[in-house]
Assembly symmetry: C2
Homo-oligomer: 340 residues x 2
Amino acid sequence: MRILLDGMGGDYAPVEIVKGAVAAAREIDDTIAILGPEDRIRECLENEGWQGDNIEVINCTEVITNDEAPAMAVKKKKDSTISKGMTLMKDGAADAFISAGSTGALLSGGLLLLGRIKGIKRPAIAAFFPKIGMNDTTLLLDCGANVDSKPEYLLQNGIMGSIFVECVKGKTNPAVRLLNVGAEDAKGDELRKEAFSLLKDSDLNFEGNIEGRDVVHTDCDVVVCDGFSGNVFLKSSEGMALALLKAVKEKLTEGIRAKLGAALSYNKLKELKDEFDYSQEGAAPILGLKGAVLKMHGNSKALEVYYAVKKAIPYVENDVTGKIEKAIGKKSIFGLKITD
Amino acid sequence: MRILLDGMGGDYAPVEIVKGAVAAAREIDDTIAILGPEDRIRECLENEGWQGDNIEVINCTEVITNDEAPAMAVKKKKDSTISKGMTLMKDGAADAFISAGSTGALLSGGLLLLGRIKGIKRPAIAAFFPKIGMNDTTLLLDCGANVDSKPEYLLQNGIMGSIFVECVKGKTNPAVRLLNVGAEDAKGDELRKEAFSLLKDSDLNFEGNIEGRDVVHTDCDVVVCDGFSGNVFLKSSEGMALALLKAVKEKLTEGIRAKLGAALSYNKLKELKDEFDYSQEGAAPILGLKGAVLKMHGNSKALEVYYAVKKAIPYVENDVTGKIEKAIGKKSIFGLKITD
């Protein structure tokens, strides 16, 4: 297996990206190919004391920044890490592509250079959301690839999410729910009402609507949403979690009495923080493209890179892409109402 | 001033509603009129030892439940607390109406019996969202009245929210933002792009887009959103806050060492919990109706009722309804592009 890693994506590239690649490469037999300016990447590898043989460097002279218009940048900067990575994927020269770079550029590059799976209307960004106290996650999609959605996209999100969870987490017949403003069947806007009946008529294990407040503690595997509300959901939950954990820390260090208390509670609070820590979940797959493309947070460091590489392996090994293609093609399996 | 209180709305009616009414009535000169079956309400008043003269009881023989189709129920059950309350408001026999009953019935009753302010396209539910560590709140609207929205509704939400914050919190020129998937101007779906330009062209103090994760710590007064994403935002933040606070409590009572720590930190953690406690904020105003209508959480107890009554007073005294009507009428003031 050959895993491509965008050496120039994110806030801490290339140093932390290379550091994470080295940590992962030491544990796996597969090859990691880092895309970026060869000199800089090699220098970073040297600084890490790397002497193994399963890291390659693929020279790229350009980088796409977050400020550029994605589609334009992808077309113009043919020697950028993202354009080159997508082209290598398209050519079958790599099995997965991981990047902490611009989401827009990754999506544009995916659509323009790698392409969609036949029958898939829109690729979707799938994020792992922690279920507190359950040591598990829910796969939430779409989290921002398509802000203007149609009911059919939501059905396809349910299909892609189910296949991903089944393949990568080994969970059979994953439970799917639709993010909505109420739990009752008839709730929501026009988009949700139509998506609900499509999901209900499909062969997915659809368990109905779910409200924003219940995702964190409900035993369900896939939460289907449009890119706008998924993004709002994810970011508001994150914002609240970060604000609260910060506030807990501040409160616990106000005054000697509380400080002493905090010292005694430290390990327990640390455990809690880890439970909310997304870093070990790996990167967010962009499902629906003709290959395994994974998006890391822009602020990813070596640990996130390490987990992203390790978690990409079952994605490829279980042929998620092929299975999505098959499911979308065989209308009978899922009882789909897909027109292409 | 005569404040109507739905004695039969919510999970703890009528006992907790009456208890809260008594607590508020003891501190204010205005009259509280409780709607409900007279015998039961009077019995509750007796149990509270009420002997004052500023609580009235208005007999209602019917109640609208959460399971009923709202518009139908409002029309059919003319002697329900909600229908009667709205009719009294319409007739000018009361200044505010507070209820913890069905949101749908309150909205339907508001639209059918009380009516919209002239020029207002859709009323909106406005909720107070805590800004952590800033001892302040942001007014978020709409939180679920309209799940299918148009750009113009969002502009009107900005206007209504600004007037409410200016009148009730005394903040001049409140800062308004648009809930979106990114902070840059051009972000979002079609609805957001059009709403952005309407807000930008208005005379509101519009400061641009805001992402879900930043609301909790950004110094802005009004966050404009459509009813679907506002509902998702509010419920996901709430869900995360509740799950986290529960987890903190559980972690801190695992093992003797942590328990001792928790005992020492108790006061500080209590302070934090209070900061996230919405109960003191009062009820959520449904802005855009021809009168002050406020919706309490279904799980409201006496404390919430007490604060809802007290916070309703400045809403009426400052004539928020009249000011919204004026602002919407005088197109020149806000540079509105409103067609009616």
